[in-house]
């Protein structure tokens, strides 16, 4: 019987592989609705993957909008200063949040569970204030607009379908990064998640891995920020509100907090739903709420988790009767 960790890996890589076909989207269609949906969904996936990384250690982090803002604004600033190479922007959008996350993590990760959650929630409000109060740097309430299109070694990627391509590429990079981190530190994260005291007891330096997770989550979130800013050619505070943190957490939980595939499924489903209800925006909110409650109360594994458990129980029963 394959060890659980191998089965987990398969589900996680599914989360990455599933994104690959989207690369074809910009070339397969010209429908602006599909473009918009793809953009929204991929950004949602990236953000909920950032949440997922921390959830591997049973840490709920609302920091994602803050680091998205850092990544997005960094990319915007780099572009408006003349460098538009895709690779440079991706690197900048990843590295800047990482640099900030290291000292921030040292401060914030000392806080016990609940305080940590509250603090990260408040952090987003602070980010908003800082964005508004520094107009020279960030454009304040106007944000940074008129960002030149991304180029790939000289080829501009400004057309609609190319914008989507950039978003999808960013998503794949983000998913690959998530897979890399969660696989490399799978045992450590799981040990901390399931029994922190025991983890320390067998030699796991818990603080170190919490920091790694926090920093990785920041980098991935930064990539999401870049994707948003690229799509809109604008960096604006309204894209990084604290309420969006709740959405991203919802995507991860509803889809299934146990695997990367869960984040992908959750983001896709909930974003499609909120688009369907877009005319009656409030209803989308209520539906989110209902789904969130249902998942927590009846299906704690989320969609992917519950399906997976169902099949595993079946095969365990079969093995049991075959013994």
């Amino acid at each position: 019987m394959t060890p659980k960790r191998v089965r987990d890996f398969r589900f996680d890589s599914c989360g990455l592989i599933v994104l690959a076909p989207l690369l074809a989207a910009p070339f397969a269609t010209a429908n602006p609705l599909y473009f918009s949906l793809t953009n929204q969904i991929v950004v949602g996936v990236i953000a909920s993957l950032a949440v997922y990384i921390m959830l591997r250690m049973n840490l709920l982090s609302f920091t994602v909008p803050t680091f998205m803002a850092v990544g997005g604004y960094t990319a915007a600033m780099i572009s408006t200063h003349g460098v538009t190479n895709l690779l440079v922007l991706l690197a900048g959008a990843f590295v800047m949040p990482v640099l900030i996350a290291v000292p921030l993590g040292v401060l914030v990760l000392r806080l016990k569970g609940v305080y940590f959650i509250f603090f990260t929630f408040i952090l987003n409000e602070v980010t908003q204030v800082m964005l508004f109060e520094t107009p020279d740097l960030t454009g304040g309430s106007n944000g940074i607009s008129g960002i030149p299109p991304v180029t790939f070694f000289g080829i501009p990627l400004g057309q609609q379908n190319y914008l989507v391509l950039v978003t999808v590429i960013t998503g794949i990079v983000a998913a690959a990064a998530t897979l890399a981190v969660t696989q490399r530190f799978r045992a450590e994260f799981a040990a901390i998640d399931e029994n922190e005291t025991l983890a320390e007891s067998v030699g796991v330096a818990v603080w170190k891995y919490r920091t790694i997770g926090f920093v990785a989550s920041a980098g991935v979130a930064g990539l999401g920020g870049f994707a948003i800013v690229n799509q809109l050619s604008t960096a604006h505070p309204s894209e990084f509100t604290s309420f969006s943190a709740i959405n991203y957490v919802a995507y991860a939980f509803v889809g299934g907090k146990g695997t990367m595939l869960g984040s992908v499924v959750g983001a896709t489903l909930l974003i499609l739903m909120s688009n369907y209800f877009s005319s009656q925006g409030a209803y989308a909110s209520a539906l989110f709420g209902l789904l969130l409650m249902s998942v927590v109360m009846a299906a704690p594994g989320g969609i992917v988790g519950e399906i997976r458990q169902f099949f595993e129980k079946r095969s365990q029963a079969r093995r049991g009767s075959a013994k």
């Binding site: 401060l107 000392r110 609940v114 509250f118 409030a282 209520a286 709420g289």
Partner: protein
Amino acid sequence: MQTLVSTGLIGISLGTQYAMIAIGFTLIFGIMGVINFMHGGGYVLGGYLAYTLANIVGLPFWLAVLGAAAGTAIIGYVIEVLFVDKYVDDHTASMLITLGIYMIMTTGIIVIFGPEPVSGFRFPIRGSLRGYGFYIPYSSMVVLAVSSLAIAAMYWMIYRTRYGIALRAMADDRKCATAQGIRPGRMFPIAFALAMALAGLTGALVTPILSLEPNLGEGQLLKAFIVVILGGLGSVGGATIAAFLVGMIEACSSVYLGGSRGALVLFLVVLLILLVRPAGLLGRETRRA
């Protein structure tokens, strides 16, 4: 000089409001280990209930306020019994469930009352007290008086009545308390209802002065977070002190610094205090799940 006095009064007034909400929030956490993400919703609910009772049903304002508090309490009781009770001590689950309820509730309010701020819902007492170069609106004074009374009543209940002692026993050591015969099944819903009632009362009193719209809950919750982190989760005394601290800082920074800089100052203060005391000013170890 007058600015100082006015600022001080504003600070105290804000402090009592924040205390009302934070005390309820910290009570729920301290006793039940539940993170009530719909606590801000209690404030909004109180406002809309008062509005309905006063402007639509036609009750006198004071009756409407009482009705709003009672209504919020009842709703809180029901929610606890139906949804929250099973997830006591489970931080993540209780947080997400109450969040879901909050989202549904907000949608309900938007559907019934529309997304725009309510107009025509005003505090019945106008005008202000003027003297020696400062002024304070009568409405603020009334809110201050009522809030102080409510807070005093809470303290009296928690520290002087048998019920309050039972609540504190539950917060300290639930197994022990239950072994003594205190029944969580009865205590929890009542505690939850009381906490929500405080939030509802605050909403009913303050929204006619400031504004009433469906999305106010988030802002209130945020304030509650700040106060409660500062004061230490689970500590009623801490929440009270922190509430006044936050109120004062906010009053001072909005008067002297202006705009959202005040929020930054607040946050920096919180950050500094947390660096020195990661459990808040009077916090105790967070409940082990």
